[in-house]
Structure formats: C-alpha cells, structure tokens
Amino acid sequence: MLKQTHKFTHKHLLGLEHLSKEDIELILDTAKPFKTLFTRTIKKVPTLRGRSVVLLFYEPSTRTRTSFELAAKRLSADTVNIAVQTSSVQKGESLIDTARTLESMKADFIVIRHSYSGAPYLLAKNVSSSIINAGDGFHEHPTQGLLDIFTIREKKKKIENLKVVIVGDILHSRVARSNLWGLTKLKAKVVLCGPPTLIPKDIDKIFPQIDIEYNLDKAIKDADVINILRVQFERQLEHLFPSVREYSLLYGMTKERLAKAKNDVLILHPGPMNRGIEITTDVADSVNSVINEQVTNGIAVRMAVLYLLSLNH
C-alpha cells in the first residue's frame, strides 16, 4: 500500500523530539491514504486484526481517547478502555504495576495519558508493550503535534518557511512542545506568543531559530498559521497572569484581530476550547478555522502511528 523508502524503526512514540524529519514525513504520508477511508461506508481495514490496544487514561479526555479508539478500531484492533475511576488505580496501584498487569494480558499497545511528565517513559522502561504517549504533563503530546502538522500541510501544501504562531500558555503546554519539535524539524518559522510568565525558560536556547513575541497583534502579522492553546484558569492562582479577563484582552483571538492577519491564515486549536476566552466563537467557526478538520485528521494520523509502530513490535 505504501512506497517506503524510509524505514520507521521506533517501537514507542514518546515524543516528536526523538523522531527525524523523515520519520515525521513518513507518518504524515501514511496517514493520507487512511484518511480516504473515512468517506467510505466501510471505514475499516484488517491491518491490525488480532492486536490489542489499551487506552490508559489518567486524565479526563474525550477527544484524544475517542480518536485513538476509533483509529485502533478502524485498523481492526481490539481496544480496551481503562477508566481511572473504576480501576484498581483508585486502590493505590502504582502506574508500573498497572502497566505490568496490562502487559501480562498481552496488550500490544498501551496508549497513555498522564498528568505527570515522563509517565510514558516509565512504562517504556518497565514493560514490553509499545507505548504511545497521548499527552504527559507539560512534556509532549506527539499525536496532537502530528495532526496539527498534517492539517497545515494538507491546507498549505508545505511546511517549510511557513510562519506558525503558537499562542498562549507555552510553559505548561505539551501541545506547544510537540508542535515546536515537529515544526522546527520540518523547517517552519515558529513564533511563540504569550505573556513572559508563560514562556518557558531557555526555550530560545533550545530552539535558536524561533522567535518570541509578547504582543499578539505583532505576532500574527504575516502569519500563515495561528495555533491557539487552551488557557487553564488555575494558572491565575499561580500569579502567572492577573485575571482571565486581562488574558482574554491581551491574547484572545477575536474577529478584529483576525482581520489584521493574512486572509488565508489557518486557525488551529487543540481543543477543548474556552469560547470567548482564548478564542471567540466567530473566529472558531470562521472560514479560517480548521479546528474540526484537526479532529478528523487526528484519527488518520493515529492510525498511521499504530500501523507504523506495529511493524516494530
């Protein structure tokens, strides 16, 4: 089904940091034909028949969990959901023991979402299943990064030299970090925009090629893509910004602001949105918005990830 010149050699997907440009492009290219399945009546292929995918979610998530589940099912894998509230996690079972139990049940893949950075690494070190990071703390959310890039590439036909602005709480954002790795590997021009309190220390040393701009109006000028991050209200309690009202005033994406950007600028948001805070409804539902397409593409990208990892498991 694929012309493979580059071989994907990873067993786990823990982040985009350790993927090469070729790895990322291979995932995107693999996702493309999977996406064409979705318009058919029968959206399923037998590729992963007999394989099992366990979705281990320690944080509430509708979007990512459902997306992974559909991706696995459309590849004919068996899926199991571990809802944290009903599992032995509530009895104080450690993450490692939970994962070893799943491993003993011969789970081929464990898709993990966890509020602590590095939790997927802990699993990868302790069990033999393939681990897919579905978001860990402030670290990475690789499939979100991939689906964002897939969406941009589909619309703009390229990534190189595009100006991509990431707006909001960069400090606590795993989406931002995965985007940063993926986009810089594919040579986009990335601009981070947010209050100085939410820009992580030394980020300019890690990514010397990116720009940091505190002023959103300046940042979005000439932008090809604006990726708007969800703002967490509890950051206000940590004195990272004075109020949600002021945040919204300075960093909320409104129709008026959008008018100052390019006509064909793409608006992305990883969801779930705080409508009226970081993004107004008219922007979210505008022609520039590809937020719903991100969701559709997410399934295709996750199918590609599962498929490529299965070659090495």
């Binding site: 993450l95 670290h139 220390k201």
Partner: protein, 426 residues
C-alpha cells in the same frame, strides 16, 4: 589492644604532610607516629604499602532515617555504608520521624548508634520544633544531650527573625548552624533545575535564585549576629560568589558541596530522561555552576565535601518523576568520586581533598580529638588505594538509589579504622 599500620603514605592536612610513616595505635588512640616502627611483641599489623593513610573521613551531612523510616536506612546499615565509604564519623540530620528536636530523641539516636552503629554518629538537632520554622528548640538542652550542630535541613528557616534569634542564641553554646538554603516560594513544586532541562522535559523548575536569595539572607544575618553559619550543599555559581565575597569581608561563614554537584550536571537528565536517581534537592545544575564549584574547591571557598546521603526505597523511587522523593545515597561513593574527579580529572592536590573531608569538618564543628593523625588523637583512619579501579555495583546501604551504579571509579577503600578497630576491609 594494639594495631600497627606500616608503610602507608600518610596524608595529614593539618601538618601539610604527605610521606611514608608507620602509625601505632593502642586502646583507640594514636600513640606513635614514626618513619619505622618495629615491635618485638606480636601484634596485629596492617601493611598499607602503596596505600594512602588519611585521618578518618568525616561526613557532616548524612540522613540515617532512624527513627521513622527504617525501610530506607537504619543506624546499623547507614553506619556500615559509611564505614565502607571510609567514614569514621558522620553527622546525622534531624529530619527523622519524629525529628531530632528534643533531648529524648537525641539520646535515642546516640544510644542506638552506640549499640548498633559501626562508627561514630553525631546527631544534629533541629533549629525549630518539628522543623516548622516557628519556635526555637531547647537548644541548650540539645547541646547538653550531645548534638554536634543544629539545622532544619530539608528546609530553610523561612522567618528571618527566627533565623536571627537562632544564630544569636546558639553563640553561647559555640554551636554552628547548618543552613539548607531554599526560598520555598520560588522553588515550589519544582523538581529539576529551571532552564533547558525543565523546559525540554516539561518539568517544573527550581531556579538557582531560590538558593541564592537564602544564601544572601543568611550571610547578612550571620554578619548581623557575628555567629557561626555553615551553608550546606551549595550548588550554584551565584551562591559561591556570594560566599566568597562574604568570607573576604570577614563574615564567619563556611560551606560544603556534594560530589554529585561537582560530577553531574542537569544534562544527565537528557541522557536518562526522568531517571529519578537524578532527582535531588538542590537539583543538578549547569556546567557553569560545576566549573564554579571546582574553582571554589581549589581556592578553598568550599570548606568541606559532604555526602547528603539520602536513602530511598526502590518503591519510592521507581515512580513518576514528580512523585519520587528527592535524594540519592552517597556515603559509599564520596571518596571514589573525589579521587576520580577532583584528584585525577581536575588535578586538585590530594591533601586539599583530604582536608575537606577530615581536618576542616573537625575544625568547623569543634571535634577536638578528630580530623588529624596526631599523638593522642582518636585512632580513626582511612586507608585507600588511589589508583585501583572498581565498579560501583553493590552497597552496604539499605537503599540503592544512586546514579553512579555501574560507574568505574578510582579510590578504593582498603581499611576503615574507627576507634582503633578495623570496621571495614575492602
């Protein structure tokens, strides 16, 4: 009971001496030091040919975990680990459960150490009750019970007025306050150094300034009170610069550094992402800080080298990085790391290294019969090979939370002699 140590190269910082000498020990004391000692009577002899003989090492910063966390370490296992690391005297920090903040707990620790300990254990008492930073402990009574110093190690005394009073009050007992410098508002929830690594791994950072702000405050308070202050586990270039400046202006301040802060940097966490044996407080810093520490060891701004031995069980450590406790064990790797890095890599004279592990701790904390190889002094001696290599693969400590497992190091302990008795043979 006599013991003769022959042919060793004696390193004696107090006399600035490094030469081959024989040492005769009787009843736990050093009774003769000479080029050649020949005895007619038949006594136990240790041939220390090609080995270094130094005063028994003194660790001023150990966590023995007893009472309260005997699953991590006990006085028995901790002193075994110390002996295996060449230590003959250790200070045990008071953040036990209950904390060492009253006479009874001091006595308990000393009694246990006497009955079950392999080497000398000197308890450090708390500055404030329950280490809460609110109310001074009965420092006079702690001193009478036998504490060697006082400290709220693990935290700073946040309230500057209470810290001032503690410094003033301890003057009459000639006690040194050991200060753990950390502004916990700045370091709150942090688990690694703030900077490149915290950003890359998505972990909350502990800025250097969290340490430095408290170092400056404590220097100012030491100047105000003219009291003796010792700052422990200094980890940043900024702290060192401030301490250097303070020493120049005549403030009575001393400090120590741990081996992990002069051997490792935060970059190790990029090599081993989320390895909880790289999680300690203060956190591993940057190359710039490490270079400043090496300089400060060379020019004696740093007075002592201390282990900050902090045992934790595998269950506690094999966890999400945020959930694992801070700290690594150190007693058994201090000297080898000093030899491998300070002596061989950075070419620091052996006598200077030994001084920071023996003579200086004894001097700063007023241990009158320790830290020197001298007639009448306690027969505490450490005998080690400078160049013999070994692999770090087993510990006498109850815990194994060390980032140095599998490392090849030089500086192998051959004998540890405490109070005239061989307590470890390597």
């Amino acid at each position: 009971m006599k013991l003769l140590i022959k042919n060793g190269i004696v390193v004696e910082p107090a006399k600035n001496l490094q030469q081959q000498l024989d040492i005769l020990i009787e009843n736990g004391k050093i009774i003769r030091i000479a080029k050649k000692i020949e005895l007619k009577e038949k006594i136990e002899i240790i041939d220390a040919k090609n080995y270094i003989v130094s005063p028994g090492l003194i660790d001023i910063h150990t966590h023995l975990r007893e009472p309260g966390n005997e699953d991590e370490e006990t006085i028995a296992t901790g002193t075994k680990a110390a002996a295996a690391g060449g230590f003959t005297t250790i200070f045990c920090m008071p953040n036990t459960n209950p904390p060492i903040d009253n006479q009874a707990t001091v006595e308990l620790v000393m009694l246990k150490a006497k009955n079950e300990g392999l080497i000398n254990v000197l308890p450090v008492g708390c500055i404030t009750k329950q280490r809460k930073g609110e109310e001074l402990t009965e420092i006079g009574e702690l001193k009478n019970a036998g504490v060697v110093a006082i400290s709220d190690d693990g935290s700073s005394v946040k309230n500057s007025k209470i810290m001032r009073r503690a410094l003033e009050y301890t003057k009459m007992f000639d006690l040194v306050i050991i200060s753990h410098c950390e502004d916990t508002d700045l370091s709150k929830d942090g688990v690694v150094n703030e900077g490149k690594v915290s950003t890359l791994l998505g972990l909350r950072g502990i800025p250097k300034e969290a340490e430095e702000i408290m170092v400056i405050r404590d220097i100012i308070l030491a100047s105000l009170t003219q009291s003796k202050l010792h700052i422990t586990h200094v980890s940043t270039k900024g702290s060192i610069d401030f301490i250097r400046q303070a020493k120049k202006s005549g403030i009575k301040i001393t400090c120590d550094v741990t081996p992990h802060h002069f051997v490792l940097t935060e970059d190790k966490l990029l090599e081993y992402p989320y390895d909880t044996n790289l999680k300690m407080n203060p956190p591993l810093r940057t190359q710039e800080d490490l270079d400043a520490i090496i300089e400060a060891i060379k020019d004696d701004v740093i007075d002592c080298i201390a282990s900050d031995h902090a045992p934790h069980t595998i269950e506690e450590k094999n966890k999400e990085f945020d959930l694992a406790p801070f700290g690594i064990i150190g007693l058994e790797t201090v000297l080898p790391l000093c030899i491998t890095y300070l002596y061989y890599k950075y070419k620091i004279p052996l006598i200077k290294i030994i001084e920071k592990l023996t003579t200086n701790p004894a001097k700063i904390f007023g241990l009158k019969t320790k830290g020197k190889i001298e007639l009448g002094f306690d027969a505490d001696l450490t005998i080690f090979s400078l160049d013999e290599e070994f692999i770090v693969d087993k510990f006498y400590s109850k815990s194994t939370n060390s980032p140095f497992v599998g490392w090849k190091l030089k500086g192998k302990i051959k004998y540890t002699i405490c109070n005239g008795k061989v307590v470890y043979k390597g």
